[in-house]
Subunit: 209 residues, 2 copies
Amino acid sequence: MTTSRRNAPAGDRRVRRTHAALQGALIKLVEEQDLGQISVADVAEQAGVNRTTFYDHYRDVHELAEAACTATIDTLIESLPALDPALAAPDAEPARSLVAFFENLAEHAGLYRSLLGPQGSARVIDHIRSRICASVHVTVRLNAGAAPDSVSTTDIPHDVPAAFTAGALLGVATDWLQRDSPRTPNEMAELTWQLLVTHHPTDARHATT
Amino acid sequence: MTTSRRNAPAGDRRVRRTHAALQGALIKLVEEQDLGQISVADVAEQAGVNRTTFYDHYRDVHELAEAACTATIDTLIESLPALDPALAAPDAEPARSLVAFFENLAEHAGLYRSLLGPQGSARVIDHIRSRICASVHVTVRLNAGAAPDSVSTTDIPHDVPAAFTAGALLGVATDWLQRDSPRTPNEMAELTWQLLVTHHPTDARHATT
DNA sequence: TCGGAAAACCAACACTTGTCGGTTAGGTAG
DNA sequence: CTACCTAACCGACAAGTGTTGGTTTTCCGA
């Protein structure tokens, strides 16, 4: 094949450079204007590479955007490994993982706002959603394996709750970014956590503050 | 300032014709191929109108898609007016509105699959999400007004639960359409309903079948 | 160190996109 | 019925897109 084809760490030095240049250029541009207004020529010039070189690595801007936010998404995903929607105690603290989730979201607000909004990319949206979905998937499976005391684990399949939770998180995040986010990450984590664990707000008034 | 700007029912007969022609053309094309592959020229030719006429009404394919699926979305939205995520009794039947929701979804599966998937349109996705969000919003407000027996209505704001529910529904729907949907609309409604009302699957084993 | 392999550059290509004046055809108000 | 109004058509335009073949530069391994 193409000789050495390491996926992540190694590889040709040149490709890594142009990859980094292009992704960095897009991230910078996306902080200033909407994704839909960014042309391939803009990204190439900002990155300092020839326009045709762009097409040697990505098919279009969407694909670049997907790759560019992968690293950020990775940390975002890893911030919520301990999400346990089913078996969690209702009086648990507002789940540090959720706080980290929203803090990470706020840190790259400009990026996510441009990518997830109406002018964003359906490819990126779907990518993020499926990533969260997979992450929640394994978490549910882990919890089910950790407490295999009943047949209910096979009764309720994994995929629907995972899709439910992933969509809910993405929905809350998107909505939070769309408005001028009057709430802090902590508040968002608290509210979202109450919704995740149960939909009875009258029961959940513990308010450890 | 194009003088008369009637929005929905009346207006010039010619405009309605071309609107219908373009929207119908897009819907037909979108059933066959992914939205991202459809060009303005394709739609115009399929609709039997000149290409420049397209731009007299819509800025790009995404905007047309948003307008084209509005009617379908309206019925989709109106199918879930009775959604009560907070106060519903946990042993209630699987919410006819949810069944209608998934049936409507299945009926236009090709359309939604192409629009919501990775090759879809972020504008359409955001549009649908915000529509569902607004619908759930008023529902929550209605229920809160129907049972104003505590201060908890002001304690928990409306927007976050609405965004949560909207995202969750859209997530479940998208995930269901992406796979080859082995489940029936009834099953999906049942599963989603259990998730909406509570996250404790061990409690929810009523199984009216 | 050096030679081959492959990435990056370059010019140019057909094609699509979005926009613009001017013309034709159709509908609506009077 | 008629005259005005305006949507729809037409040709042409600059700009952006995606691809191609060929050249130069850079890197990796022997």
